[in-house]
């Protein structure tokens, strides 16, 4: 074990530094092509680096990068386990396609350097949130992510709805992250550390003094419960779980279309990922939150399960009554986030570990399917909106006939989210269903099916409008849509691939979950931390 893998540590810092330069270049360079190329090259490099990280982590187990050469609880560390590596690679690759798509979408807009700066900032925030091994650094990265997101949502400054959505999203979001800061104060006050691996040790082994951070202060069970409850409010806000979903249907559609894809496809993942980190890695099933006197963890998980179900139902039902295609897709995000949270809440102390693992696998698999599918749908919808000049489903009627290839991709995306057999969405939903059956909760399992069934109506409405309905007026033949069509077609192929490779993917993702969130995985997460401490401590 040498200095650690540089691509893990340097990724996010280099990304923001590269974003820093853009506005300055914007003063001197007026050609838009330059900025498009810059963004695509940078995101491609990041995608390559995250893939490399994924390979290394897959082969060698969790990797830890200690910034400044300080042993972890003293300094900040990035700790990437299998789950983080998978999600990091997913984020970077989807972001690459979003950047490519932006080349087409943003070409007619002003303020391109600002746009790409914020987009790269968003990516830095996403990668940082996923890779970080420090709870306070997570707060900072959440803010990097959020401020870019607020800025991008309000980017169409002439649209009253966009600015209003951004301000609503921003004010409540800022309050939410402050609440997370308060949760961190509780955590530091009682555990005396902010490192996730260190917290994972201290939350499990009651009488322990870890290197550097020592023991406990005060009543740790109550403090942990308070901290987890407060921080879960924030994470569910970030991923728009009911009842914190109110901002999403306004904010996501009003953003520029590539950003809608990024927000719906990637930003909501962060909430789910951080909840997994908090409830499985740090305060897991054998932690202080589950001791007989304080069964807080089960209560929290039950609450998440119920909220997940409600969220799934509300999203699916609201989808049916939408008249605006981007709003429809936004509500679909609410519904799918509900499904993901249902999966990750199946970690009660009464449920067999195999079922928990299966549910978490389903959650992760569904997260991936949803990211790819939703990014594809938003981008394809952007093409149709470009043709029809409106977002209303009535106005879009028949617009898909002018772009048949994009329409094909669009259909594949819908079928993916709907959960039709050859595609990935089916397998993840089926896995979720069987996990609940295995856990002895058939009612919840049936609810998964019901949510999917309701959402079919909404999807069918959109598909019908775009292709089958006769056009209300004659559309011009679209020009220059080769690039976006290529992007959505490629993503459609990925969707199909996610379905075809389902058996392999299921086992691979199951291994991922086992290697990161289940007992063995948490142990290796902690071991990497202890090994680094030993390596870096003074003699």
């Amino acid at each position: 074990m040498e200095a650690g893998i540089l691509t893990i540590g340097a990724l996010a810092p280099i990304l923001v530094v590269l974003a820093f330069i853009l506005p300055l270049l914007g003063i001197f360079i007026k050609r838009k092509v330059f900025f498009h190329a810059y963004a695509v090259v940078v995101t491609a490099l990041i995608a390559a680096a995250t893939t490399y990280n994924l390979i290394v982590v897959w082969r060698e187990g969790p990797q830890l990068y200690a910034f400044g050469g300080w042993p972890p609880p003293l300094g900040i560390s990035y700790e990437v386990d299998a789950l983080g590596a998978v999600l990091g690679a997913l984020t970077a690759w989807v972001m690459l396609f979003i950047a490519i798509y932006s080349c087409w979408y943003m070409d007619k807009e002003t303020g391109i350097p600002y746009y790409y700066t914020l987009l790269l900032g968003l990516e830095a925030g996403l990668i940082g949130c996923i890779y970080t091994g420090d709870a306070f650094n997570l707060f900072v990265m959440l803010e990097v992510l959020s401020i870019s997101a607020y800025g991008l949502v309000g980017f169409h400054r002439g649209r009253a709805e966009a600015v209003e959505a951004a301000v609503k999203y921003g004010i409540i979001g800022a309050a939410a992250t402050t609440v997370y800061f308060i949760a961190l104060v509780f955590i530091y006050g009682s555990y005396g550390t902010l490192n996730m691996a260190d917290l994972a040790i201290k939350a499990r082994v009651m009488a322990v003094a870890t290197p550097f951070s020592g023991g406990y202060y005060g009543n740790i069970a109550v403090a942990a419960a308070l901290a987890v409850a407060l921080s879960l409010w924030v994470f569910t806000y970030k991923s728009a779980l009911f009842p914190n979903h109110f901002w999403l249907p306004d904010a996501h559609p009003e953003a520029p279309t590539p950003v809608s894809a990024a927000l719906s496809g990637l930003v909501v993942n962060i909430g789910a990922y951080t909840v997994m980190r908090f409830l499985y890695t740090m305060f897991g099933s054998n932690s202080v939150l589950t001791v007989a006197k304080y069964p807080f963890r089960d209560i929290i998980l039950w609450a998440l399960l119920i909220l997940g179900i409600v969220s799934g139902l509300v999203g699916a039902l609201m989808m049916i009554v939408q008249e605006d295609i981007k709003r429809l897709l936004a509500y679909s995000t609410v519904s799918h986030v509900g499904l993901v949270f249902m999966g990750l809440s199946l970690g009660f102390s009464t449920v067999p570990l195999a079922a928990t693992q299966e549910a978490l696998t389903a959650s992760l698999y569904h997260l991936i399917n949803h990211s790819v599918g939703k990014a594809l749908l938003f981008m394809a919808a952007g093409i149709f909106i470009g043709i029809a000049g409106t977002r209303k489903l009535d106005g879009l009627a028949g617009s898909g006939r002018k772009a048949p290839l994009a329409t094909a991709a669009f259909f594949i995306g819908f079928l993916q989210l709907m959960g039709l057999p050859p595609l990935g969405g089916f397998f993840s939903k089926f896995l979720l269903y069987s996990a609940f059956m295995e856990a002895g909760m058939p009612i919840v399992a049936v609810l998964v099916v019901i949510i999917s069934a309701i959402s079919v109506l909404g999807y069918a409405k959109a598909m019908y409008s775009v292709w089958f309905r006769p056009p209300a007026k004659e559309f011009k033949n679209p020009a220059g849509i080769t690039l976006p069509t290529a992007v959505v077609l490629f993503l459609a192929v990925v969707c199909v691939g996610l379905g075809i490779a389902a058996p392999y993917l299921t086992s691979a993702l199951s291994t991922t979950i086992a290697n990161s969130l289940m007992g063995k995985g948490v142990l290796s997460y902690i071991q990497a931390f202890l090994k680094t401490i030993n390596y870096l401590s003074p003699p």
Binding site: L74, G111, A124, I147, G151, R157, G214, G218
Partner: protein, 276 residues
Amino acid sequence: MRRAYKYAVLTAMIVSTLALALAASAGGLGYALPFPAVRNLAYWYLRTTYNPFMPKFTASAPEAVTAIVWDYRGLDTLFETSVFFLAIIASMALMRGIEVRAPESINLSKYGMSAIVKTVTRITVAIILAASASIALHGQLTPGGGFQGGATAAVAPLVIIVIFSLYFAVGSGIKKKSMLTLRTLGLLGIGVTSFAVIVAGLILGKAAYVFQNQPKEAAPIGLPSHILGVPMGGTLLLFNIFEFLAVAAGFTIVFLLLSVPEESVRKVLEGGEGHD
């Protein structure tokens, strides 16, 4: 009636605060007083921030807070700066295309506040800038640092804009573009400094870390720890200088954008651009 209601609520809150405090101090909650000793982690920070007896395990800055901010937890601070940067960029994106133009044949003395205030400000600006530079340059020795200094320095452009008017500020070189350039250079300085040691390590073929400052057992290279007989904390002094520039310029951009007259903004917005 409403007023009475308001004061009743306020009184109730004060009384309940006192009652809760009474309950807590009587032992109703876990603890009511601060702990007698700092947490173990803090003990390590206090022991290692400036410690000549552990040359391979110190940040070499007597100021523990600055040492944590820029060395132990330097990554946080880099991203904190980027949050501020992104907020400014997002604001500039909202105000894109809006330039400050002084009215034709402008008589600067007609704008701004009275001549007495203006004259006093002429002197205070120099004092403010010198004091803020002192805060920033002594960041590794006494309380203060790049951000504190930069925020204090930002008073200077702010009072110039408020007292002398925006047009005077723009005329005397406080422009959006130059401030953006300064800000970017400051940030790039921070970026370069955080990678300085690792680049040196790659060249020398030695192990090093991002954000490394002083030599460590596992990574035996670092920046010098003293300058002219005074601790400079390796990278900390550089970080403070760059952060000072970046923050002062950033605030100036914010105030330049905020003080653009509303009429000229409306003219640009009604030009009919920015629609989906």
